[in-house]
Amino acid sequence: MKLSLGVILAIYLTGLQLIAVISVVLISYVSSENVLIDHTRSLLSDTGHNVIDHSKDFLEPARSAAELAKRLTETDIVDRENADSLEKLLFQQLKTTSQFSGMFYGDESGNFVYVMRSDDVAEYRTKVVRTFATGQEASFVWRDPDYNVVEREVDPLDVFDPRTRPWYRSAKESKDFIWTDPYIFFSSQKPGITAAVPVMEGDGTVSGVFGVDIEIEALSDFLAQLKIGQNGVAMILTRQGNVIAHPNSELIKVKNKEDTLEFVNITDINDEIVQAAFGELAQSGIASLGQEAQSEFEHDGYGYVSTVIPAYNQELPWAIAIYAPTEDFIGGIKANRIRNIWIAVFIALITGLIGLKVADRINRPVRDFASLAVLLSSGEVSTSDDIPETYRELKQASQTLLNEVVQRKAFEREYGVTFDLASRGMAQISPNTGRFIRTNAHFNDILGFTAKEMQGMKFSDILHPDDTDTYISFQYAVHKNVEYNQERRYLRKDGTIAWLRVNAILIRDEDGKPLHTVATIDDVTSLKLSEEKINELSRELSHFSRINMMGQMATGLAHELNQPLTAITQNADAALLTVSQSANPDPELIEILEEMEEQAHRGADIIRALRGFIRKEKGDSGAYDLNELIEQTLCLVHPEASVRGINILFKAQALPNAIGSRVQVAQVIVNLLRNAIEAIVVAELPTKRIEVRAEANNGMIKVAVEDTGCGVDPDIDLFTQFETSKQDGMGLGLAFSRSIIEANGGKLWCEPETEHSTKFCFTLPVLSMKQLENDNA
């Protein structure tokens, strides 16, 4: 289906801008997310390194303090044998670095000096273990920040031996600075780590080890302060996967079976997100991790990014693990994105509406043009009306259309007028259903229907029931592209029969598809009826002439015979009287004469009986139109005349009705015409003409038949029976005709001849009131 220009424009305009808006939104959606996720990753990575740096910075003082003490003792600036100087050294260093919880030195002999922060009695406490040959002595000294002694105490039961401690053994074994594994400080119950460095002799042996305890709970505080998005978490892990720093420092300490506190492993931590983020990593071994590893995961419907940065070296023996929900970073963007989508939808709607409006505006002239075209074609708008303003291109088109319409209208008007005013009946008929699409007034009048009634009717509705094949032959002819032309009977509205000559052809369009059948219809009813009348007259005449020629012969013979019979009877009677009056009458002679008279009468009786029998055939008597009768008889005689090249002229003029037997009169006219034809044939003159005239005069109608024939033989008495000039004639025609005319109350005679013309005339009575009265009497 072809869409209208308006719809296409609207779809294109709104569709295009919708596609543009959606593309921009989509692209920014995808790209911004990727950028943000990348950004998040680098953010995590940065945070990790930040944590690493921070941790290094946090631990560095412990290392440098231990190294410093080692160098001071190795260069003998501080006497390592002297516990007091060692205590002073350790105290000074502890006091200046707040994150140190304690510093100590143990030697190969088992001596041990330990300065630590204290929160009871005084701010610092020193523990000194001295070994002797017999045993060892442990003493405690509490000092204020100014190194003044606050309290002293000796514990003889203390059996602490530094050489058994892990930090001592590790440092002595590696002969280099080491970090111990983090652990929970026994005294403060806080997580911490110990840095240890061995003090070497000149021969390369280890004489003792300096250690620095540093609490790392501060790292958890630091981690807690870090801003990694809103919900990002950074942790510090050991090689074994133990969590040693976490923003929530409570989570990392758990009690073991011996009821001592230790670090929780990352696989056991009470944090599902952490487990989801790093559990897998922890199982495959964090120690094996060579470099920074980043991953993304989902938990509880949220997306997260995570990164693990291993940093196992002398400076820092840990790994940093960080995760953060992506929502924190792209949440705003997402919200923004939804807003953007709404804005885009809004813009799309606005621009869509504008697009529709623009489309409508662009389309309006086209639409106006289209409706103009429709109105023009349906004739609701005159072609003389102004054409609405439109595009230059359409202007030309509409002008062309207008011209077409004007031309078509003119044609249609012409056709319509021809159709409606045609003197013949016309109809347009649907080729398939036979329905009348259009009929003209003349056709309607023929059948007696109104135009409205004809609208709903079909061709088959007007068929005469006896002519059922009419429609079939009609349809057959028009669909075979043959012109249909037949005279058939049809029914009028009042049920009477109409003879119609229907002439029809099928009109097809350019593709050969049938459009409609055009039929022209002529009412030939009167023609048909007069044909029938003529045929009837012909039949009657032949019957009449057969019977009456015989009758006429009989009548003629009767008349002719009656005369001599009368003479015989009179003579016989005279003879009889003469004989009987004689002196001696002969009885035999009297009998002969009487018999003779009787036989003459018997003959007369036979003739009378014959005449009485014939007289019955007279034809119906009544009033009739003589003009019509003359025309009909002319039709009958016409073939005989035309074949001999004879022209018969008759001009009817108004006549009153004649009275009598029309068949008899017809017979007379035929007789006169045939005589005329034969006379013309005999004469063989160049002019071959018969003229028939009829005129009313003095209550009679006079009919004259004049021919250009051979004339009348003066020796022949025309009207005497059995006298004829014709070779094969009987001499009855004119006598018969005369007797017929006289029987009808008229006269027949031959008018005196003029040159080259013979004229027979007869008169007939006109129907009058007197005639009617007489007939009734």
């Binding site: 009656n562 009368t566 003479a567 009877t569 009179q570 003579n571 009677d573 003469t578 008279e597």
Partner: protein, 209 residues
Amino acid sequence: MPDEQNLTVFVIDDDDDIRSSLSRALGIRGYLVETFSSARQFLDEYDKNKLGCVILDYGMPDMNGLELQQHMKQQAIDLPIIFITGHGGIPESVRAIKEGAVDFLEKPFRQKTLVNCIETAFGTLLEVQQLQQSYRQLQNNFDRLTNREKEVAQFIVLNPSSTSSKDIGRHLEISPRTVDHHRARVLEKMGMTSVTELVDQCVKAGLFL
């Protein structure tokens, strides 16, 4: 005053044989016969002083029997007509009888029938002649009466039931005596023996009617 002896039978027929045979047959029977071969000839040659009857052929050329009957009426030829015809139809015969013909005979007819018709015609003719004669006589006598006598005669004839002198006198406003005198004069002048005869003769002749 005509009688049977000087009456003539006029035969009009276009057929020569008919004319001659009829003329002969009727002549033998003692009739005076004159023949004509056409209607026209009869009209031209007929002598009005001769009385009798006409035997007329109905079907003749030019002027047929009926037409001749009309002509005779117009010309006051007051002869009874017997039509004879070769093909006489009922309508023609009816018309002819209506117009006063004695009879309409179809050819051939018996001589006796024709003679009867002739005799009837002659009877009729003589009767008519006699009536005409007595009418003329009465009229002549009546003309000789005085005016008063004419009045009395007329009253008597028109009112035959009241012929007393009183009635007549009252009607004419004259005395009965005078009436008696006038009546005697009327009877004398009219040649009547009684009032009854006067009334009878006048009614027969159609006088005052």
